[in-house]
């Protein structure tokens, strides 16, 4: 497939910043870059299961269009010709979109999500739609109605979830970067367990228009990439106000690429960092991997070396984040998923004239939804029902206020004595073996322990790799105040640069080479 005379570098190993410069100088064409990734998908995806839908002809046609425009001397944006993968929760006009569910099998949306539309307008090339836990409910991608996705670091382990198709695609070099969505950790945890950078933006700073809704007060789309700089580039391309999302914040994004570049210079002097006691600190280590805590402690020590002032910070209400989240998210989901009723799109079962509308709805939803989706709909229905509402949903909303207050107090409130960022492990453990937690919802939910507080408070949080434990990646989470996403990028970039320098190479360079199929 390779073109004679094309550069000898494997284009799938380049980060986006490098691809940009190779494309803009004409060293490579968009078609060559796209074909390299399609070849890699053809070779490896049967094993990884990262994609639910790939259309090579459409991708190559889009790439050829960029090459034609460039040859004609047209004005091209900085991302023109860069391939991208989208989590299958993002609706794409004319391109199958399932949200990992059988209830939407074969559906081709009639419009583009704002995130998809912005990436298309920027000239990026859609490689395909990535696998996910059904309706983004899960932490392992095993809840996909189609197939599990495997972790490129160890094919017998989960790639995290729910954006596990995106994490496996990017870590496995089947895409240079990808869009994920995060409701309770679904960008950060898969990024952490596959050695990627993943950022959950401030709630309201990236449009939700065209994301298939799971829990509307929590859902956010964000970037997953192999470097902090790439993540910042992708975030800037999708972020900013959108009048079609009424919860979208009408404020400019802070300079994220600039923050990543500044951070990479490695000077964090004056930065105040709080290490959250309740997330893996003294007295709160049950369920955490010893190797994870060790890697995170080393990363925190590195922050000190880079000039940051580090101190422990207690956020007592974080202990209740898991309980509050697993009431709020299922409650909102039980309402959001009512739209899957077999009337306007997707599956319809039992419409043979013998059943009435109610029965057809119940049969359609029974056959179209998987077990985790049903569990959450039932739990949410309970938490919202008369007589239990105050004790469950109402109480969880108040706990959500307490969690937000803990963040406000940590960041200093009025007296200015607080910290600039909070850090913790991203995931309590490394990637676990496929199948190990599927029959134990509580064990699965525990994977989100560290990521839930930032979700509930709507504040930005990034996961950046901080080494290996048992040969598997560990992530450090950096949380900042609302709309201060730039701080996440600055700290993550400083840490990434210092670790790469100490190691002499990038963490992903240690990824085992795929064995011959």
């Amino acid at each position: 497939m390779s073109t004679p005379g094309a550069m000898s570098t494997d284009l799938t190993t380049l980060d986006v910043a490098a691809l940009q410069s190779a494309l803009s100088t004409g060293e490579v064409s968009a078609v060559e870059v796209t074909r390299a990734h399609l070849d890699r998908i053809a070779a490896d995806d049967a094993r990884l299961g990262a994609y639910l839908h790939v259309d090579p002809d459409a991708a190559l046609a889009a790439a050829a269009e960029v090459d034609r425009a460039r040859a004609a001397g047209g004005e091209l944006g900085p991302l023109a010709g860069i391939p991208v993968a989208l989590k299958d929760v993002v609706v794409t006009e004319g391109v199958p979109t399932t949200s990992g569910s059988k209830i939407l099998e074969g559906w081709r949306p009639p419009y583009d999500a704002t995130v998809a539309g912005r990436l298309k307008a920027a000239g990026t090339v859609l490689l395909g739609k990535t696998n996910m836990d059904e309706f983004a409910m899960g932490s392992s991608t095993e809840n996909s109605a189609y197939r599990p996705t495997r972790n490129p670091w160890d094919l017998d382990r989960i790639p995290g979830g729910s954006s596990g198709g995106s994490s496996a695609a990017v870590a496995g070099h089947l895409a240079p970067w990808a869009i994920g969505t995060d409701t309770g950790g679904s960008i950060r945890q898969p990024a952490a367990v596959t050695g990627l950078v993943g950022h959950k933006p401030t709630y309201g700073s990236v449009s939700r228009y065209g994301l298939i809704a799971f829990s509307s007060s929590l859902d956010q789309a964000g970037p997953m990439a192999r470097t902090v700089l790439d993540a910042a580039l992708l975030h800037e391309a999708i972020g900013g106000h959108d009048p079609r999302d009424s919860t979208s914040i009408d404020a400019p994004l802070p300079g994220l690429v600039a923050a990543a570049r500044q951070g990479a210079r490695g000077d964090l002097s004056g930065l105040k960092v709080g290490v959250v006691t309740e997330l893996g600190g003294d007295g709160h280590q049950e369920g955490y991997g010893a190797g994870v805590l060790e890697r995170v402690a080393a990363a925190v020590a590195l922050l000190t070396e880079l000039g940051a002032e580090v101190r422990p910070v207690s956020c007592p209400s974080f202990d209740l984040a898991l309980a509050a989240y697993y009431l709020i998210a299922p409650s909102e989901a039980s309402s959001n998923l009512a739209r899957f009723d077999g009337v306007r799109f997707g599956l319809r079962v039992g419409d043979d004239g013998s059943a009435d509308l109610d029965e057809v709805m119940a049969l359609t939803r029974e056959q179209g939804f998987g077990p985790e989706v049903k569990r959450r709909i039932i739990l949410g229905t309970y938490a919202l029902s008369s007589g239990y509402y105050e004790a469950y949903y109402g109480q969880a909303q108040k706990v959500r206020t307490l969690i937000t207050r803990d963040f406000t107090a940590a960041y200093g409130g009025a007296d200015g004595g607080g910290v600039d960022v909070l850090v913790s492990p991203t995931s309590p453990t490394v990637a676990w073996p496929i199948g190990a937690r599927v029959d134990d919802p509580i064990a699965m939910y525990a994977a989100d322990l560290c990521t839930l507080p930032a979700s509930l408070a709507g504040v930005p949080a990034i996961s950046v790799p901080c080494g290996l434990s048992e040969g598997l990646p560990v992530g450090l989470q950096v949380m900042a105040p609302a709309l201060a996403d730039d701080r996440c990028y600055r700290v993550a970039a400083a840490l990434e640069a210092a670790q790469d320098a100490a190691r002499g190479h990038r963490l992903l360079d240690e990824l085992p080479t795929p064995a011959a199929a």
Binding site: A324, V343, D351, R365, P371, I378, Q395
Partner: protein, 99 residues
């Protein structure tokens, strides 16, 4: 805090329009009872004077100009429907026939 019985789960599934099977009821009742026990921990928080948070963005009443914008083409919308007839979504009957 109350426990979730098999009968409760059956009732909730009916409310949520899920025609769950007997096997599912057996599995879900046990699992959901454990989950409910875990999430009931929210009751431990002292929240007497704490207002609820339904949403983290401090926005009320987001307005836009009241102008007509194009809708999606009808054919394109109906193309995704499980059944369509006479330019409309076709649905099963919602009323029983009179005796």
């Amino acid at each position: 805090m109350s426990n979730l019985s098999r009968t409760d789960v059956e009732h909730l599934a009916r409310l949520a329009r899920l025609a769950v099977t007997d096997e599912e009821l057996d599995v879900f009742a046990g699992q959901l009872d454990v989950v409910l026990g875990a999430v009931a921990r929210v009751g431990e928080a002292a929240v007497a004077d704490v207002p609820p948070t339904s949403h983290v963005v401090p926005l009320t009443n987001v307005f836009r100009p009241d102008v007509v914008t194009p809708s999606l083409p009808r054919d394109q919308v109906l193309a995704g429907a499980p059944a369509a007839e006479d330019d409309r979504f076709r649905v099963p009957r919602i009323l029983q026939e009179e005796a």
